[in-house]
C-alpha cells in the first residue's frame, strides 16, 4: 500500500492495465517521452515501449478518430486530450462514431476506448484550460461519463473504464491531481461504473456532487456537522448512465437536497438529477432542490476563477435555504 496523489493513481492504473492486458495502449500529445503535461503517463513509454505509448501529432479529432479505429479492431486505446478545452474537435468522432459503433454495426464492432482529459478550474491555468464540459458527453447515448474525486476512485474507476466494453469519457479534475494523497493499493481492483458513492452518511440533508467540487462539498458537510446538521454526501462519479436510485434513496431519508457542480448551471448534469428527484422523489422532498453551480458565463481567466467556482459559503447558503424551508 502506498500513499499517492490523484495523478499518480492515474499512472498506477494505466501501468497496471498495460502490464496485464496487451491490448491496452495509450496515445495522446506529449504523453510518451515527456510523460504528459501533468505527468500522468510518466515512465510508461520507457516501460512499455513507443509502440504502445504513442506520441501523436497535434490533432485532437484524429486522436479520437484513430482510437475508434483501433478499438473497433480489438485494441483498448486510452487516449489523452491535453485539456478538456481542447476536446471539442473530438466531438464529431465521439458522438458520430464512438458512441454508436456497437449499435450501428449490430454488435459486430464495438468501441472499448477511454478518452481521458484533465478538467475544471482552480489551478490558475490560461484560457481554455479550465473547462468542465461533462454535460456535453453525458447527453450522448452510448457513452459513459465518469469523473473521479479522489486518488482511490481515480485508480479504481480508470481501471473499470479501460475494462469496460464501451466508450468512456474520463475527466480528471486538475485541481485534485496533487491536492492530497491517499492510500491506494495497486492490486488491479476496479470500482463499479454506473454507481454513485455515498461518501458520508447523514440524516438531515443530501449533498450531491462530483469531481473536484467534492472538496468544497465535504468541507460544507463538516461545517454543517459543527452546527448540528447531519449531511449525507454523494459522489455521483458516473454521470452517464446515472445511478439515480442511490440519490433517491438518500433524499427519501433526508427530504432535502443540494446539488453542487462546477460546470455552468443551464442543462448541467445537476438539472438531470433535480428532474429525476422531481419525477421520482417528489413526495419525499421537504424543500425545493437547490443547485450550486458555476455561473452561465465563460469560465473566467484565473483572477476570477475562484469567484466562478462554487465555494463552501455558497454551498452553506444553499444548504440553509433547503434546511429552513418550511
Amino acid at each position: 500500500m502506498a500513499e499517492v496523489n490523484l495523478v499518480e493513481a492515474v499512472n498506477l492504473a494505466l501501468a497496471y492495465e498495460l502490464e496485464h492486458d496487451p491490448d491496452v495502449i495509450v496515445l495522446g500529445e506529449d504523453i510518451g517521452v515527456n510523460g504528459g503535461v501533468f505527468r500522468a503517463t510518466v515512465g510508461l513509454e520507457a516501460r512499455f515501449g513507443a509502440g504502445r505509448i504513442i506520441d501523436t501529432p497535434l490533432a485532437e479529432a484524429a486522436i479520437a478518430g484513430v482510437a475508434i479505429g483501433m478499438a473497433a479492431v480489438g485494441l483498448k486505446p486510452v487516449a489523452e486530450i491535453q485539456f478538456t478545452g481542447f476536446m471539442y474537435p473530438t466531438i464529431d468522432q465521439i458522438i458520430n462514431h464512438a458512441a454508436r459503433m456497437r449499435n450501428r454495426t449490430r454488435g459486430r464492432l464495438s468501441c472499448p476506448m477511454v478518452l481521458r482529459s484533465p478538467s475544471g478550474a482552480g489551478i490558475h491555468a490560461p484560457e481554455h484550460h479550465s473547462e468542465s464540459p461533462e454535460t456535453l458527453f453525458a447527453h450522448v447515448p452510448g457513452l459513459r461519463m465518469v469523473i473521479p474525486s479522489s486518488p482511490a476512485r481515480a485508480y479504481g474507476l480508470l481501471l473499470a473504464a479501460i475494462r469496460d466494453p464501451d466508450p468512456v469519457i474520463f475527466f480528471e479534475p486538475t485541481r485534485l491531481y496533487r491536492l492530497f494523497k491517499q492510500e491506494v493499493e495497486n492490486n488491479g481492483e476496479a470500482l463499479p461504473l454506473d454507481a454513485c458513492f455515498v461518501l458520508r452518511e447523514g440524516r438531515d440533508l443530501t449533498l450531491v456532487s462530483w469531481g473536484a467540487m467534492l472538496q468544497e462539498t465535504m468541507a460544507a458537510a463538516d461545517a454543517l456537522a459543527a452546527s448540528g446538521v447531519s449531511a449525507e454526501v454523494i459522489d455521483v462519479a458516473t454521470l452517464k448512465p446515472l445511478d439515480l436510485a442511490v440519490i433517491l434513496e438518500s433524499v427519501a431519508k433526508t427530504g432535502r437536497c443540494v446539488i453542487v457542480h462546477e460546470a455552468p448551471r443551464t442543462v448541467g448534469c445537476g438539472a438531470e438529477i433535480a428532474a429525476g428527484l422531481a419525477e421520482y422523489g417528489l413526495t419525499s422532498l421537504l424543500a425545493p432542490v437547490q443547485r450550486v453551480t458555476g455561473y452561465d458565463v465563460v469560465v473566467p481567466l484565473p483572477r476570477l476563477e475562484h469567484q466562478y467556482m462554487p465555494s463552501v459559503d455558497r454551498i452553506m447558503d444553499a444548504a440553509r435555504r433547503a434546511l429552513e424551508y418550511a
Partner: protein, 362 residues
Amino acid sequence: MTTVATFEIGYTQFIDSQGEPTQPLPPFASDPATLIALYRAMVLARAFDAKAIALQRTGKIGTFASALGQEAVGVGAASAMRPEDVLVPSYRDHPGQFVRGVTMVESLLYWGGDERGSGFAGPRHDFANCVPIGTQVCHAVGAAYAFKLRREPRAAVCLLGDGGTSRGDFYEGLNIAGVWKVPVVLIVNNNQWAISVPRSSQSAAKTLAQKAIAAGVEGRQIDGNDVIAVRHATEEALAKARAGQGPTLIEALTYRLGDHTTADDATRYRDAETVREQWQYEPIARLRNCLARRGAWDKDKEEALQRECAEQVNRAVDDYLAVPPHGPDAMFDYLYATLPPALEEQRAMARRFAPRAGETRG
C-alpha cells in the same frame, strides 16, 4: 532560392474508354475469368442501383445514394483485398461491399431504415457505411495501426469522396498515417461532385492525390473508370502496406452520372450535356468492349448476365420486403454491451407504445 522539395503525381490507365489497352495489362488481367468476375460485379451493382432508385420512388426504401458510373472504384478496390483486410467505406460504396460479401438485402435494409442492415453476415470486421464525410479516414488509420502493432499481415482500405479531402479528419488521418507508416490505402472516389459543389470549387490543388505529398505519403492518380487500373493500383498499395512500406493515397478519377442521392436533383446545378458526354467514359461499357475484343464476351453472354443479375436483384428485393419488422428493442439492444438499469424504464416505455403486429411496418 534553392529547391528543397519537388514532387510529381503519376497517372495510370490500362484500358481507354473504348476498351483498348493503352499499355500492357497487369498479370491478373491475362485471365478472362478474372475480368469477367469484375465485369459481373459492376453489372450487378448497376442493376442494384437502378432497382434501389425505383424502390425509393415507390416508397419501399428511404433516401438512397447511387454509385452509377463509379462502379469500378469499389469493385476494383474490394477485388484486390483479402478477406481479413478491413474495408472502411463511405455511404456510396455498395459496389465494393457486395464484392466483400455484404448482401443486397443488408444494403436495402440499411437504406430502408432498418437497424439490421449494418449487421453484415459476411465481412463481420468491415466498418459500417460512414455518413459524416471523411471521418472514416481516421478509423482506417487506427485499424491499420492495430494491425501493425500486432504484426498481422492485414491492411485497411478506406474509400472516401473528393469532398472528403477538404475535411480536417482527412488531413489529420493522412498525416498520422504518414508519421506512423501504417498499412492503410486511402482511395478517393473523385466523382467530380460533392452534392452540388464541383471539384474545381473543392480545392485549388491540381490533383487530390498530391495532398498525400504534404503528409509524406505516396499519392497517385488513376483512371477510376478503368477497373483494371483500380484493382492494379490497390493491389500494389496493399502489397506495399503488407511489406511494411506504409500508406498510399489513390485518387480515382470518375464521374457521378446520377444525382447525389434520391433526394437530390442534379439538373439544378449541372449541365445535362456534360453528363451525356461523361457517359462515354463509364466503366462498364469499356470493360465489355475490352472483353469482346479478346473474344471473351458476346451478345448471348451479355444477355444471360443481365438476366442473371436482374433475377438476383429481384430475389434480394423479395427477401428484403419479406423481412419482418423489428421491434423497439432494436434501439436498445446494441447501445451498450449490457443495457444500463437507467435505460430499462425507457425500453419498457418503448415496448408499451410500440405498434402491435400488423399496425404499421417498423
